[in-house]
Subunit: 343 residues, 3 copies
């Protein structure tokens, strides 16, 4: 997605920075790591352990920490700053903003927007997207191609909804929400009444509410609640292919890595970090600031601040100790047989 | 998805029920649990352990078991019945029916239906859905937006196909099937002939058959068979993000929780229950009425009625016993060293 | 997807083969295993352990190894060949080619192709697919329905892109790539800068490059790199619902089974085989020709040729030995208590 950015735009972002050297490139063509850069690229020294790579880097512009010593090559510009990683992120945001702006074309002629939907002119709706009755979308939100925005859905300001996302009827997104491609918001919950051998469906009439600045990964699924709401708290980030069951409540600032599964009616408090492919049984409470290792299986309430691993999950230090001892089981069984023989 | 329902409609469903109190709300605005209800809501006492919540509930109408004692507040109506949970499900079905009816609009002008497709007038096809050659769809089925219904696909009566579902060529759905958003039916099987270091693709020319009243979750995938069919038996319910490999046969009335993976040519008999994220190796048989715990790894045939856990999977009671003993390994190693010293 | 194929087409593929018997079926209606075949079907003896099934098979045409002894029934044709499995694959390819040809209709009137896109006439674009600015697609590629082909995407020759695939801006497919339905290529990477309690998004401006003859499963996700590229090497096959993180490099000829998760910046060398639901921590190197068992959790570098299992992963033989000993833990604890009593 790298797009050209002019050197003058870069310099304008860091007006007071110290500089060394010059480059004939007036347009930067890409950003790359120090060792992968080619002439025309911008690079940066984000971590001092890579300092020796600066000397051999072919990048035309390099962001460096203020205490870096060393001189640019011919046709190479050094720009010094407090934190080059932050500097690069500023550049990336500028590029991303340009890219995003290019999507802001209003409603595409091949989109279908119901006449009852309320969409301000700053909203973009991509080709083949469908916006159903009574939908409300806030200013500057971007709905890309092939999205389904169901009846009575509410979408806040500055949201970004990538291609092929389905937001089913009555669900709500607050401001600044990002939904990656193919995510499904508001699928039916997996709840059945067992009557003899039949599983009779329980209708799910609730909704999903996604708070400010939440991001949800590609092809992830969030089920609607039975009556009330499934809720994802502010600033929580959810990775690709994650499953969130009906009536789940997730707190603020959680990080949930790819392919995690959270069963129905789980309550997860704030700032929980969950490693990839971990799973949670239904109806449990996961305390704030807890940390769950990848592939862990959580079947009981988790204390705030706990750090658990394994299935059944145990504190991570105990888990590591047991892992080491398990590898010694063959030896233990042998030693044990020796002792039995001598008794 | 809660939609208003009039009090008179509710009362008509329970004509002979005993009642206590009155409410000025002639329209119910939502269903909620006892403690979350607001004036205008309908609530219910489904489990006696919550009986103390009735007194403080702000719901305007409450369904109660016949033996409940206690009086309604001002502007509150109690309706007594044999099983309030069943009563609520009746109400939910009524609401769902209304919601579903609002989708029955026939073929949307922005859909594309091939002229050879056979679709009775009671079928609904949403915007941007594509129905290919020789497709047959049964009465009262709803195909929502952005669906791909491939060549020669057969869909039964009263099916519900949510937005963005892809049913690829030659696959078949019987009656009452529900496919949640983004599900893929009939993807290529993962089968290759190893020739030297190359993996040569094996074409997959079979199909998928989904029997009556099966439900399949959002973004779940069911691969087509190599020649014949992958088959999902009557009344089986499959959750979100589940993977069903080529040539798998699943029996009737199974429950398969989210993110389970079933490899190619597995045969699963009737009424098996599989916990989330469990995985099955290919070509095995899983006996009827067996139960597989979440995250279990099943690599061998499973006896009917077995209850397995872990990877490699073992009977659940043994697994629990071993889990407890594993946590005692540090202690065991210590005790063992003491003994060795004393010998 | 089985389609009729005439007997004369079959015979033309094996002109010099020895034959026995005749059939009145001039059209073959399907391919099936020996025991499931019906009159009109083609079957084959691919594995000698099924030789006894030939005698009872109702197939009208059977491919047999040259050393098979036994005679056809009435109205049954035997065709002898070196390797009947290879013979069937030839037939399947013929059928698949016909099926594929029926998709080559050029750009569907309900597709939307930007005027700057470069698409030769042999390319097919299905209904409701969107091809954005500056896209380039190579000869004979098929883009099915509901696909999103983002800005500046490059697609090689003879690719097959199934319905509902999203290829986001700037990503590249080389020749012969197959993307199954619902796959997402180029979603945002899951990378955030922790600033106090906030997770600030790191923009992902890189791309995804998919080399020749790669196949990717339904609803799988491949994240774009932060700056440079996420890359999938030639001939690698990736199954359904797999997650590939940002900046991952996967070598040539790998096989990655369903629901595997590969975290950001992993390097996987050539010819690695990964069982279903395995997971990889970020920033590790997985050596060539290594094998990872299903559900394994890989948190450290893997040596070339290693075969690992479990979480934490250990060599598969040690893992099997430990599994057996774990099941003996109850017995060991008992034996141990006896010894302690006697000391």
């Amino acid at each position: 997605m790298i797009q050209a950015i002019s050197l003058s735009e870069i310099l304008k972002l860091f007006p007071d920075s110290r500089r060394e050297g010059t480059t004939c490139f007036t347009e930067i063509r890409g950003i790359a790591s120090l060792d992968a850069s080619k002439p025309g690229d911008l690079s940066f020294l984000g971590n001092l352990k890579y300092r020796l790579q600066v000397k051999d880097s072919k990048a035309s512009v390099i962001f460096l920490p203020e205490n870096y010593t060393g001189l640019p090559h011919n046709d190479q510009l050094f720009i010094y700053m407090h934190d080059p990683s932050v500097g690069i992120t500023e550049i990336c945001k500028l590029i991303e903003k340009k890219h995003k702006a290019s999507l802001n074309d209003g409603v595409h002629p091949r989109a279908f927007v119901d006449e009852t939907a309320k969409i301000p002119p700053s909203v973009s709706v991509g080709p083949f997207s469908f916006v159903d009755e009574n939908v409300e979308i806030g200013a500057e939100s971007i709905i890309e191609s092939h999205c389904h925005i169901g009846k009575n859905v509410k979408i806040g300001k500055r949201c970004r909804v990538y291609p092929g996302v389905k937001i089913l009827a009555f669900c709500e997104l607050m401001d600044g929400v990002v939904l990656n491609a193919g995510a499904v918001i508001g699928s039916e919950g997996f709840g059945f009444n067992q009557v003899g051998e039949a599983h009779n469906k329980i209708p799910h009439l609730g909704k999903v509410v996604i708070e400010n600045d939440v991001e949800i990964g590609a092809n992830a699924c969030v089920d609607r609640a039975r009556f009330e709401e499934t809720r994802i708290g502010e600033m929580t980030k959810i990775d690709n292919l994650v499953q969130i069951g009906h009536n789940v409540k997730i707190g603020k600032g959680c990080l949930i890595v790819a392919q995690v599964g959270i069963s129905g009616s789980v309550t997860m408090e704030d700032n929980v970090v969950v490693g990839g492919q971990a799973g949670f049984s239904g109806h449990i409470r996961v305390g704030k600031n807890s940390k769950i290792a990848g592939q862990a299986g959580i079947t009981k309430n988790v204390e705030p601040g706990a750090y658990l691993k394994g299935n059944p999950a145990i504190p991570v230090q105990l888990a590591h100790r047991i892992s080491i001892l398990q590898r010694k089981l063959p030896e233990l069984f042998d030693r044990f047989s020796h002792i039995e023989e001598r008794m």
